[in-house]
Amino acid sequence: MNQVLDVLSWVLLSCGGFFILVGGIGALRMPSFYTRMHAASVTDTMASFLVIGGLILQAGWSLATVKLVAIILFLMLTSPTSSYAVANAALLSGMKPDTKFKANKGGRES
């Protein structure tokens, strides 16, 4: 049983690490502000949930688990909100989403 939990937690931790890496690469390489933010917000939500989930499996039934669950709940509320706030602020300050790719495609089709 312990072995299974250990393997499961490491799978979760590795997946979390993978998503952090993907988010980092995306934040550097994506073409426009909104796509970069989309990539970065993956790190905020998906990756941190996976990492903390893995840590919960490592911690077992203890006080640490309660604290980690509290952290997950807090992140669940704050991370998407902050992503929204950043994107919203960008939109309000006049940064238009880059629709060049879509427009080009539509142009070719019609």
Binding site: F74, L77, T78, P80, T81, Y84, A85, N88
Partner: protein
């Protein structure tokens, strides 16, 4: 492993420090400063200084950023172009850096039990805290009781800094005609931050009180708690707008808090004299010396928290009430 992690964090700190110097956009520099503070807090935590880490995270990364953002809203986003080359600064910085690096060779190894810090008064504190004060967190015992006079000084420094900022910022009276400015509406038009913020707000305040009253047993205390509660109330001001925040929590309450907390601290000291002890000697406050110590630390931590919270709120509202130039 810990050393590896610490070295990684320290090199990140150097990189971020260079990036802060190179950044020309002040907003970027501010965000980098926040990251610097968070990394510093992690570093303190690795060194087992949980109290300092909590303070750095709450004040350095949290509330300083908000106050700087308030200041940035008043000025422009870009650094002034710097024309004159400061030739004098180069040798001064070089000599100071060389001295500091030279001095660091004399530093004891990290965690060395023979280091002077572990030989001086620390063994006495560790030995006497269970006997004289009887609280688990020795840091709180040192700051609140053994060296209460220093902490009193710190509280008055914060109080004085708050008064100084208020003097500087309210030199001109805010004009009466700015009720429709966007800042006074807050985020009330934005549903998602408003809902999430309202949901989180009570928990932030609750956590602040937890840090305040749990300071005897774990990391925490008045400074951190005051900053956390102030952050919660600033969040309220950001969500609901300046006007509603000031109606819910008027300025005179903040002023009374900033002055009253420091006064409470000093009065606890005077009460010690009045009851036959020395200034800030809590043992005489109750018939049992240890209960007296507990009471004294509770009261002065409350004083510290109240002053810090009131001062930070006053500074924030002083920035928010100011018209931009």
């Amino acid at each position: 492993m810990t050393i590896l992690f610490a070295v990684f964090l320290l090199s990140l700190l150097v990189i971020i420090a260079v990036a802060i110097i190179r950044a020309e956009n002040l907003f970027v520099a501010l965000m980098l400063t926040t990251i610097f503070s968070l990394l510093m807090a992690t570093n303190f935590f690795i060194l087992d200084a949980a109290d300092v880490a909590l303070t750095e995270a709450a004040i350095g990364a949290g509330i300083t950023t908000v106050i700087f953002l308030g200041a940035l809203a008043l000025t422009s986003e870009h650094e002034k172009p710097f024309v004159a080359v400061p030739w004098l600064a180069l040798p001064v910085v070089a000599v100071t850096a060389a001295l500091l690096i030279f001095a660091s060779f004399d530093n004891p190894r990290l965690g060395d039990p023979e280091a002077p810090i572990h030989q001086h008064v620390v063994p006495w504190y560790l030995e006497q805290t269970p006997k004289l004060v009887d609280i688990p967190n020795v840091v709180t015992a040192i700051l609140g009781s053994f060296r209460a006079f220093d902490t009193l000084g710190e509280v008055f420094v914060i109080f004085a800094a708050c008064i100084g900022v208020l003097f500087l910022l309210s030199a001109r009276k805010p004009s009466e005609t700015r009720c429709t400015a966007p800042a006074s509406v807050g985020l009330s038009q934005h549903l998602i931050p408003k809902v999430a913020g309202r949901f989180i707000l009570p928990f932030i305040i609750l956590f602040g009180f937890y840090v305040q009253f749990h300071g005897d047993f774990g990391p925490g205390g008045g400074f951190q708690a005051g900053a956390i509660v102030a952050t919660g109330l600033i969040l309220f001001a950001l969500l609901e707008g300046e006007e509603r925040a000031l109606r819910a929590f008027p300025r005179w309450i903040m002023m009374a808090m900033a002055a009253g907390g420091a006064l409470l601290y000093a009065l606890v000291g005077v009460a010690g004299i009045a009851m036959g002890g020395k200034f800030l000697d809590y043992s005489v406050l109750s018939s049992d010396p240890i209960a007296g110590q507990h009471l004294g630390i509770l009261l002065i931590e409350a004083g510290v928290g109240i002053t810090v919270c009131g001062s930070l709120l006053l500074i924030f509202h002083a920035f928010a009430a100011r018209e931009s130039f």
